[in-house]
């Protein structure tokens, strides 16, 4: 655990001692808050709910998850420090967890910066606090899932741009499966089972459910599975690279 903590601190420092984290957090706040006000007529809907605020989060994470996670392993590969890191008295799992938790903390910081939205709807009306919490938990899990996907991809490549593109594409697929029109198209292609599968795989579907205050056990298990499996995959890739 101590080793995870050490790696976590080191990674977090590298995020927050460079302008990157601040730029990403500021941009995230502008996008996630600006889109509902601009595109989703947040005020005009006259409903003290953050559903339309969370609605766009999977789309935003599609870019910001890879942007935060791209340097997790690609940077180490590029600098040639992977071997150095793994020759230290820590296991790959500890390194992976430390890095992942640091990136997830950046995601949490991004979400923290949107807390003003909660104050705004509390000022304007009487929101359902439980639903707000559920939405934030869902958003954090979706963000963490996108970071975990990027973590696995970054373990494969030393090029950060390639890492961002591949990760963003995977996230895009997982988001787009939840769009009714795409889901409908898939149904036409492969029938009901394909449609159900796509819905189940979709990050946006699960996020939307949680934004309504409904946290299905299957959503929780799915998002945690993505995180767990991607981190496991990272471990497999790193070990295979070592050998």
């Amino acid at each position: 655990m101590r080793n995870v903590w050490i790696i976590f601190k080191r990674e977090l420092k590298s995020y927050f001692l460079s302008p990157m984290a601040y730029v990403l957090i500021a941009l995230f706040a502008i996008f996630t808050i600006g889109i509902p006000f601009g595109l989703a007529s947040f005020i005009e809907r006259n409903n003290a709910s953050l559903y339309w605020f969370f609605f766009f989060h999977p789309w935003v994470y599609m870019i910001f998850g890879p942007a935060i996670g791209m340097r997790l392993w690609s940077e180490e590969h590029r600098m040639g420090t992977t071997e150095l890191l793994l020759t230290m008295p820590i296991s790959p799992w500890q390194a992976i967890w430390g890095k992942f938790l640091a990136a997830t903390t950046v995601i949490a910081s991004m979400l923290l910066c949107t807390i003003g939205m909660v104050f705004t709807i509390s000022y304007l009306g009487e929101p359902d606090t439980g639903v707000v919490w559920s939405g934030y938990i869902g958003s954090l899990l979706v963000g963490a899932a996108s970071v975990a996907i990027t973590c696995a991809v970054s373990a494969v490549t030393r090029n950060q741009i390639v890492c961002v593109l591949i990760s963003a594409f995977i996230c895009f697929l997982l988001v787009v499966f939840g769009i009714p029109q795409v889901n409908d198209f898939l149904r036409g292609l492969g029938g009901e089972w394909l449609s159900n599968l796509a819905n189940g795989l979709s990050l946006s579907f699960h996020q939307n459910e949680m934004s309504r205050g409904l946290m299905r056990v299957e959503s929780l298990v799915y998002l945690l599975s993505i995180i767990g499996f991607c981190l496991y995959l990272t471990s497999v890739i790193i070990r295979s690279k070592r050998s």
């Binding site: 006259n46 003290a48 559903y51 008295p89 820590i90 003003g116 304007l124 606090t129 149904r187 070990r239």
Partner: protein, 774 residues
């Protein structure tokens, strides 16, 4: 607290193949992926969930659990849904959501609740089955449900509108499902006692005249319940627990004008025995004003057989903590109804979302109501009672005399009177209640015991300013009028009914068929009367003529909301309707559910009782309201009866709060901006009125006085200027609102990134200093 083994590099010793090593190969990764997929698949089948909503919107309520627990015969929940290719994409997830809801019901009683899904394809057996069951497709699509138990079937025509699609946590499907299960598994039809001097069931005109149709409220009641008419002079009313065969589950009082003390006592005792009451009283009942016809030399409503225009529940209301003046009507400028281009009448109330408590099931689906010459309740519940508000006026209301109800606002004189009213208008500070529910333990309004029977009144006695029609049961001479019973204490009897229209000078053409009232009621019906799907309600305050095919025999013309050309200044606002029941006649009135006397007086509630109170009775008459387009009037009334007749379990399902949470602060901001300019607008309006008066006077003299004419031109210029000023004021108020909204938007969008940027700069500077120090 690290494990020492953690500190070692995890690379296996050469030549040694450890267990985890296999897992960390590509083959292992595939195996793990398979396991993860299997776990996810298994979990998705469990349908487990955590409900974070305040009212547990996504979980079955205790009420539903109790209803399903009572099921002892097989109930089939059958979903008829078009194939996905036909459904719009956004409805496709709703199919799964619906099946999830049905599965939850099945989980509660798997042996008796059966769930079936029928995919409807064009010209298939399933389509035939859906249509035969009474499910009406919507533009060729089917997404309805039948709930069947033995020979009873309930129908939910269009499920998507009951599901939360696009953001709202407001799933209503549970309410309609539970209600359907409750209805089809119920052994007996509930019995409703209807007590009214009006003829809700329609009226056969004498001499072979056209028959007016029954009120939609009455028709819908009859389709769902066993309706028993209760005599207005009833002496005792039994609850079903007292008399299972003749007792009534719910007592509905519609404009109980002239109800006698003895009858009030009967109502009081019925309530204390756990009875449920839905009462529609009135400040001025237009339908009553048209009863009994016109007698030469007598004011309308005063002729024999006429019903008094005001009604109340007298001392019952006082005991419950409320007052209701049945000689006054509500004038509400904030809810006034447009009657012409520049004229709104404040005594016809167009009530929108702001005035309706959206968290209550009785009214949560209702977007607009139209009250006609309504009274208003004031007060607070007596000890032991709980008040639930449904509908209120705006703060800009006041009580005015009923004489305004007899003025035709479409005449210049009428408009003048209303303008005068506007000038004199002094709004009350707090909104007045128009509809509410009281429940709890009631106390008797007759602590001194049963009132003595009123003495018989000689035939044809003078009306004496009381209730000229009177009711069976007799009454004293003088104040009560012929055959009249004593007036209730809180119903001021002295009010001489105001001069009602002599006759409609501009009677509207024969009205259309009754508006499809059931279309505004919940999209559910019990066989054999399937309800049509719910259409969208029109925008509040935008009265549009209801489409309707004129039906022969419909004798009641609608309210002429579109001002006709002014031909006769004596023409009245409301043409005489049919459909009123002269109280003295009351043919076919049975004392159903009643007993001659009760032996023991109840002083307080044996069981908690419930009373629904509405301050208007004309709102029930769809024959009057149909020209307003779709109003929720009848739907609200039926919801009240439904809720009252439902068992406690069903009420629990209904009373769960809704998830609509409006931006109340934003609405207040808007209100404040409007209030700010209101007085200025009023000043300008007064100025304009004065000028107009001046101009109209000047016009008659202009030929004789050129100088005055010059002044007149000046006045007209000023009038235009005032118009412009008014426009600028309204524009300014709108700008003020927009500025506040924009300020909220920009603060939200800009403050977080600025704070983050500042934090970044601080970190950067601190680091620079530290580095420099080193």
């Amino acid at each position: 607290m690290s494990n020492p083994s953690d500190n070692k590099p995890s690379a296996p010793a050469p030549g040694v193949r450890k267990g985890p090593g296999l897992l960390l190969t590509s083959v292992g990764a595939l195996v793990v992926a398979g396991i993860v997929a299997a776990v996810n698949w298994g979990v998705s089948a469990t349908n487990g969930r955590l409900d974070f909503t305040e009212f547990k919107t996504h979980s079955l309520t205790e009420g539903t659990r109790s209803i399903v627990e009572r099921v002892d015969t097989e109930v089939t929940l059958r979903l008829f849904v078009s194939e996905n290719e036909i459904l719009p994409p956004q409805f496709v997830p709703a199919v799964e959501e619906t099946m999830n809801w049905l599965a939850r019901y099945k989980e509660l009683k798997p042996d008796l609740i059966k769930v079936e899904k029928k995919v409807v394809t064009p010209t298939s057996d399933e389509e035939e089955q859906a249509v035969t069951s009474g499910i009406q497709g919507n533009r060729g699509m089917f997404f309805g449900m039948t709930i069947t138990c033995l020979d009873k079937t309930a129908i939910i025509n269009w499920v998507p509108e009951l599901l939360s699609i696009a953001g709202s946590e407001d799933d209503r499907i549970e309410y309609y499902l539970s209600r359907s299960v409750s209805e089809v598994t119920r052994r007996d039809r509930k019995r409703i006692g209807l007590m009214t001097p009006l003829k809700l069931a329609g009226n056969q005109m004498p001499f072979g005249g056209n028959q007016s149709p029954p009120w939609a409220f009455y028709s819908d009641l009859k389709s769902q319940y066993e309706v028993k008419t209760i005599d207005m002079g009833v002496k005792a009313i039994q609850t079903t627990s007292q008399d299972a065969k003749e007792g009534v589950d719910v007592l509905v009082l519609v404009h109980p004008a002239g109800i006698s003390e003895e009858s009030l006592y009967a109502v009081d005792q019925y309530l204390l025995d756990g009875g449920r009451i839905v009462a529609f009283v009135d400040g001025y009942s237009y339908m009553a004003s048209q009863s009994g016809g016109q007698q030469p030399g007598m004011p309308p409503g005063m002729s024999p057989g006429a019903v008094d225009t005001g009604s109340s529940l007298g001392k019952l209301l006082t005991t419950w903590g409320y007052s209701f003046d049945s000689t006054k009507i509500v004038a509400d400028k904030g809810a006034s109804t447009p009657m012409g281009r520049d004229f709104n009448t404040p005594i016809l109330l167009t009530l929108g979302k702001e005035q309706i408590t959206k968290t209550e099931n009785v009214v949560k689906d209702i977007t607009n109501l139209w009250f006609i010459f309504s009274g208003g309740f004031a007060g607070s519940p007596a000890t032991g009672l709980n008040e639930t508000r449904y509908v209120s006026t705006t703060a800009g209301h006041s009580l005015v005399g009923t004489e305004y109800a007899t003025i035709n606002p479409q005449t210049p004189e009428g408009q003048q009177k209303f303008e005068e009213l506007e000038r004199k208008f002094s709004p009350e500070k707090n909104p007045r209640l128009l509809a509410m529910r009281l429940d709890g333990n009631f106390k008797t309004s007759f602590p001194e015991g049963k009132p003595a029977p009123a003495p018989e009144k000689p035939e044809g006695g003078p009306p004496g300013g009381g209730f000229p029609g009177g009711f069976p049961g007799g009454g004293p001479q003088g104040a009560q009028g012929a055959e009249g019973a004593p007036a209730p204490a809180a119903t001021p009897p002295a009010a001489t009914p105001p001069a009602a229209p002599a006759a409609a000078a501009n009677p509207a053409p024969a009205a259309g068929t009754p508006a499809p009232v059931s279309a505004t009621t919940p999209p559910i019906s019990i066989d054999p009367v399937p309800a049509p799907s719910t259409p969208a309600a029109p925008a509040v305050g935008t009265p549009t003529p209801a489409p309707g095919t004129p039906a022969p025999g419909d004798a009641t013309p609608p309210l002429p909301l579109t001002p006709p050309p002014i031909q006769d200044p004596t023409a009245n606002l409301l043409p005489p309707p049919a459909g009123v029941n002269p109280p003295s006649a009351a043919p076919g009135t049975a004392s159903a559910g009643t007993a001659p006397t009760t032996t023991e007086q109840l002083k307080e509630s044996k069981k908690p009782g419930t009373v629904y109170l509405v301050a208007d009775s004309d709102m029930l008459c769809d024959l009057l309201t149909r020209n307003m387009g779709e109003t929720g009037n009848v739907a609200m009334a039926l919801n009240m009866v439904d809720e009252a007749a439902g068992d406690a379990d069903l009420m629990k399902v209904r009373s769960r709060g809704a998830a609509i949470r409006p931006f109340s602060t934003l609405n207040k901001i808007k209100e404040q901006a409007e209030t700010k300019i209101r007085s200025e607008l009023q000043k300008l309006e007064d100025e304009r009125t004065k000028l107009q008066e001046k101009i109209s006077t000047a016009k008659t003299n202009k030929e004789r006085n050129q100088a005055l004419y010059t002044g007149l031109m000046q006045d007209q210029k000023s009038q235009i200027e005032i118009g412009q000023k008014k426009y600028q004021l309204v524009k300014k108020a709108k700008k003020e609102i927009d500025e506040q909204v924009n300020s909220i938007k920009w603060k939200n969008v800009l403050i977080p990134p600025i704070v983050v940027a500042l934090a970044g700069i601080v970190v950067f500077i601190t680091r620079r200093f530290n580095t420099a120090a080193h």
